[in-house]
Amino acid sequence: MTGDGAAVVAAVGAVAERIQAERDHLTELDSAIGDADHGGNMARGWAAAAEAARDLDDPDAETVAKTVGKTLMSEVGGASGPLFGGSLVFAAAELDGGVDAETAVAFAETYLEKVEDRGDARVGDQTMVDALTPAVHTFKKSIETDGLPPIEALAKAVDAAERGVAFTVPIRARKGRASYLGWRSVGHQDPGATSALFILEELLAVAAERLGVDAPRADATSPTIPDDDPDAEASDDSDAAPEGD
């Protein structure tokens, strides 16, 4: 197995473990504003994706990313399937030439663009875009303007995503099922944005491990702001990841 492909397989395995570990936490976030299925759906999807990635025979990074995307697309369901998985299928093509600073930036930008287009969401809508946008912008700037090594750029991106997740708490949801709560969505942390942060944290941890360095911040604690909003009774609506008919 080539280095890039193996690294991506390892990263996917780490993400699957992390999502499984955070499953109840994600479900709890979703039950406040949605239908409490985000944790279960994501855990099921990432477990299947990790297995599919491990089963590949000496894959390159693009193949792993595409396989993971397709598996998420078919296993996660609802809107999280196309958002987390479908976007990955399209962004995978950017890793055609392997993973380096340049292709990683292109991959990140395409991924964000696909999520924005598919979900018709922008920063401030209380969705996963609120975590991804600062992460991708910070990553790109750190590499292209500041000339930082990719691992340091990734660490800065994770930090930006964490602040993005915190930003979802005090704002009103305008996309996804949380939007039907109207002003009652204020005060709730978006589960989709939280999942996106967990994924980025694991990418950083695996990258640091493989480079043999300490990630600038690779600890896996989640920055959840406790949610004790008494309005949570409307928990049959809303989600970063709305379902369909």
Binding site: K70, M73, S74, E75, G77, G78, A79, G81, P82, L83, G85, G86, V89, F90, R118, G119, D120, K175, G176, R177, S179, Y180, D236, D237, P242, E243, G244, D245
Partner: protein, 332 residues
């Protein structure tokens, strides 16, 4: 609650196998999917028409697969969108080289999964266009939806697009007539009782014995108003008024109407509703060109009905009259 099912997890799978067992010469299931397609498809030199969505709305969706309507339909789990890979398999199977029109009901999961599938199919060289149906005049945003919901008017989109494709229309023409229906159709429904999903086994929402929900969605999403039970005539007046106010038709306009049962409504009651509907249309100076009564777009075992009105011109009349031969709808 009692249900005529085995394991709730198997109900969609077993329903699909039951449909192919019922219509072995008409329907074929794509291996390892929940997709049913025309047994004789894809049809050469014809635009493919596809749709899909959650199960529980039977005969929607696969009941309309057949000559003159759909080429295939993807079934999701009960009230859940099919996944993008299922939609992609559907599109691929229904493309004979002349392109495919996807008819999407406006629910976020359906739209996102279908759009992802369309983009993937296009990367493989399939020409795909789509139309989003949003005929429910009751509410603008609700559970599962941004904008209006897609409900029973979708059947008329299948009919018009299917007839146009069968007549040799190209993809652009087929899309144009589908959009024409979307622009001219409105629907509103009411629930007398909640539906009960196989998974949950109890009512999705609480409705008192003496209450009804006006503007109900086809998954039991809230409507515009919960009110005390009313007579069939009074309910028909509420629904018809809301739909006609939305459509804002000129006097003398010809319309096709559907009184649709939600799954557990006796036909007797649907005809009672249609009787009053036709009187009201006459009072408004509208002319009924055709009236359909039956179960077209259901919500499991919900009792209630929806009223659909579609303004028609010569082109739509010809398309609605054109032959169709499907398990759930036959015109000749």
């Amino acid at each position: 609650m009692k249900k005529l099912i085995n394991d709730p997890d198997d109900v969609v799978d077993e329903m699909l196998d039951g449909m192919t067992a019922t219509y072995p010469d008409r329907l074929r299931r794509l291996p390892d999917t929940q997709v049913l397609v025309r047994d004789d498809g894809p049809v050469d030199e014809k635009v493919g028409i596809v749709t899909g969505g959650g199960s529980g709305h039977e005969p929607t969706h696969a009941g309309y697969v057949g000559d003159g309507m759909l080429d295939g339909a993807a079934a999701g789990d009960v009230f859940s969108s099919p996944t993008a890979d299922e939609f992609e398999a559907l599109i691929d199977a229904c493309d004979a080289g002349d392109g495919v029109l996807a008819v999407i009901k406006n629910y976020e999961g359906d739209v996102m999964n279908f759009e992802t599938a369309i983009e993937l199919a296009e990367m493989e060289g399939v020409e795909v266009e789509s139309v989003v149906v949003d005929d429910d005049v009751a509410v603008d945003d609700s559970l599962y939806t941004s904008g209006r919901r897609g409900v029973c008017g979708t059947i008329l989109v299948h009919k018009a697009a299917g007839a146009k494709a069968a007549a040799g229309g190209d993809l652009a023409e087929v899309k144009r007539v589908a959009e024409k229906v979307v622009d001219n159709v409105g629907t509103m429904g009411t629930a007398l009782t909640s539906c009960v999903t196989p998974e949950k086994g109890e009512p999705t929402f609480d409705l008192g014995d003496d209450e009804i929900e006006l503007g109900i969605g086809i998954h039991g999403e809230p409507g515009t108003e919960r009110t005390e039970a009313m007579s069939a005539d009074a309910i028909t007046e509420e629904l018809t008024e809301a739909v006609l106010d939305d459509l804002d038709l000129d006097e003398g306009q010809e319309v096709l109407t559907i009184v649709n049962g939600m799954g557990a409504t006796p036909q007797m009651e649907l005809f009672v509703v249609n009787r009053r509907l036709q009187e009201l249309l006459g009072e408004r100076g509208l002319e009924t060109y055709d009236a359909w009564v039956g179960d077209y777009m259901t919500s499991l075992d919900m009792a209630g009905a929806s009223i659909t009105v579609c303004a028609v011109d010569d082109e739509l009349k010809e398309l609605f009259d054109a032959p169709a031969d499907t398990p759930a709808l036959t015109t000749r």
